[in-house]
Amino acid sequence: MPNRKDDVYGDHISGKFNDELNELKTQFLNMGGMVESQVEQAIQSLVDSDGQLAEKVRLGDKLVDKMEMDLDEEAILVIARRQPTARDLRLVISVIKMVADLERVGDEAKKIAKMAIKLTEEGQAPRGYVEIRHIGTHVLSMLHDALDAFARLDSEQALRIMKEDKQVDEEYQAAARALLTFMMEDTRNITRCMMVMWVLRALERIGDHACNIAEHVIFMAKGEDIRHSPMEEAERVVGR
């Protein structure tokens, strides 16, 4: 059942306060968009062996870091000026925490880009790239949906993302097993397979961060902290 609380934030008496919170949301979504494209390009550079694109991603991480600091500053100023309460307080605090997740996602993208550069230099036949493409697409859509759930304060979508994270974990395990067999087949594959393994690991972590963002969206919408709780608890809170 759609809850009115979830669709709109509503207006404050103070228009300036509205503007500040809207600015915070917009900046956060901008940073989210930037991070999304970092991940997308990092994966692209790897599967296409595009060293130039990988280099661009590596440099782009500086901008992500700057966005993190700007957003934190903005959030601190809102607290200092407005002493937000209830859903406003939950928004500001969640943004501060989710920004850290986005920044980590940015770091993972940078890691993938670095591996792309190394793997390009090695220039052997790609093994495990199917898995990278597959898991990469999956975690990218989770990240996108998490940002979307934030924009619409949609706790049901957030819950779906949390469930998808379990699938990503399984896909990661399966891919790791496959890589292990490649390594056992021919020890000359080991270096290369290890690098691919690192990339998969980075993608799996991106899924975890998307999941963290989803948990914060549920906190913002429902006022209950469901981190470290069983899935049934999250379902109960969202179903309220």
Binding site: R4, I13, Q83, T85, A86, R90
Partner: protein
């Protein structure tokens, strides 16, 4: 809490027009239903037990069937927009409304299981037990000493001058004022600063050893430093007194109180732990008010 919410949902047969215009898709928690308060309005072994309280000014009903327990030694804050009835309700607790001719009070109002509105009740004794501090400091145009000594004198609490001196010093100490005024107890109270005058009024209330202190916007005429001193005082006093404070400053309610009660158009909409009210209130209207979305 959830069960209370669901009571609000299921029954749309309100006996009178809801205070807020109802839209079809409006979620249940935005509806006020008479006599229904979400959260936890009741306490075990309360100091005040208040049931179905209604207050009328002539024909108009200012308080609509409010039920609430006030626990011993708790600090409870009453918040809500102007005209929501929080001060009116506060004034029922020591019958301050008696002085208004057209005002009548219905319902069950018990202080330690004794009826506050019992016609045989000695109102002076009641107000000694349930003291009050007002919005504007209102010291008597007398000396600092006499302001504090006034209550104990009329209630016959001190037989000797030295006893009275002790009460005055003790009260001024508790009000955090002793060090500022001990050398000029004979000076006139109206010459003090606003913050000092308000703390003097608190000392005057304490001097008759009350059990409860009602505060009606005690800091609204004070500067931030004087406000901080009064708030500090409230925290200290909560060890020995039950304190009910009406405040327009939500931050103040958040700082000083254990529980917060949200009033709206004569209804008691929500009562919850203060920490809950300011992070994730149960009622939509409470949320709108404390986040500053009320228009």
């Amino acid at each position: 809490m959830n069960t209370m919410n669901s009571t609000v949902t299921s029954n749309n047969e309100t006996t009178e027009a809801p205070a807020v215009p109802v839209q079809d898709e409006r979620p249940a928690e935005t509806i006020i239903q008479e006599g229904v308060t979400v959260g936890s309005p009741y306490a075990d072994d309360p100091k005040f037990k208040l049931r179905d309280v209604e207050v009328f000014y002539g024909e108009s009903r200012a308080i609509k069937k409010i039920s609430l327990d006030i626990a011993r030694n708790e600090v409870i804050a009453f918040i809500g927009p102007s005209g929501c009835g929080k001060s009116t309700f506060l004034r029922c607790l020591n019958r301050m409304n008696d002085s208004i001719d057209i005002c009548s009070v219905k319902g069950e109002l018990m202080l330690d299981d004794q009826n506050i509105y019992d016609p045989k009740r000695d109102v002076v004794e009641l107000r000694a037990r349930v003291g009050m501090v007002f919005q504007k400091p209102n010291p008597f145009p007398k000396s600092i000493y006499d302001n504090v000594a006034y209550g104990p004198r009329i209630h016959g609490l001190a037989n000797r001058k030295s006893d009275l001196d002790d009460i005055v010093e003790d009260s001024l100490r508790k009000a955090g004022l002793w060090n500022e005024v001990k050398d000029r107890l004979d000076a006139t109270a109206t010459g003090m600063s606003g913050g000092q005058q308000q703390r003097l009024c608190i000392a005057r209330a304490i001097a008759v050893s009350p059990e409860v202190i009602l505060m009606d916007e005690p800091c609204s005429a004070l500067d931030p430093i004087a406000t901080a001193k009064v708030e500090e005082l409230i925290a200290e006093m909560s060890e020995s007194y039950t304190i009910v404070i009406v405040t327009h400053s939500m931050q103040q309610a958040a700082r000083v109180s254990n529980r917060t009660a949200y009033f709206h158009l004569g209804h008691l909409v929500e009562v919850n732990e203060t920490d809950k009210v300011f992070t994730s209130p149960d009622h939509e209207l409470t949320e709108s008010y404390i986040t500053g979305r009320f228009g």
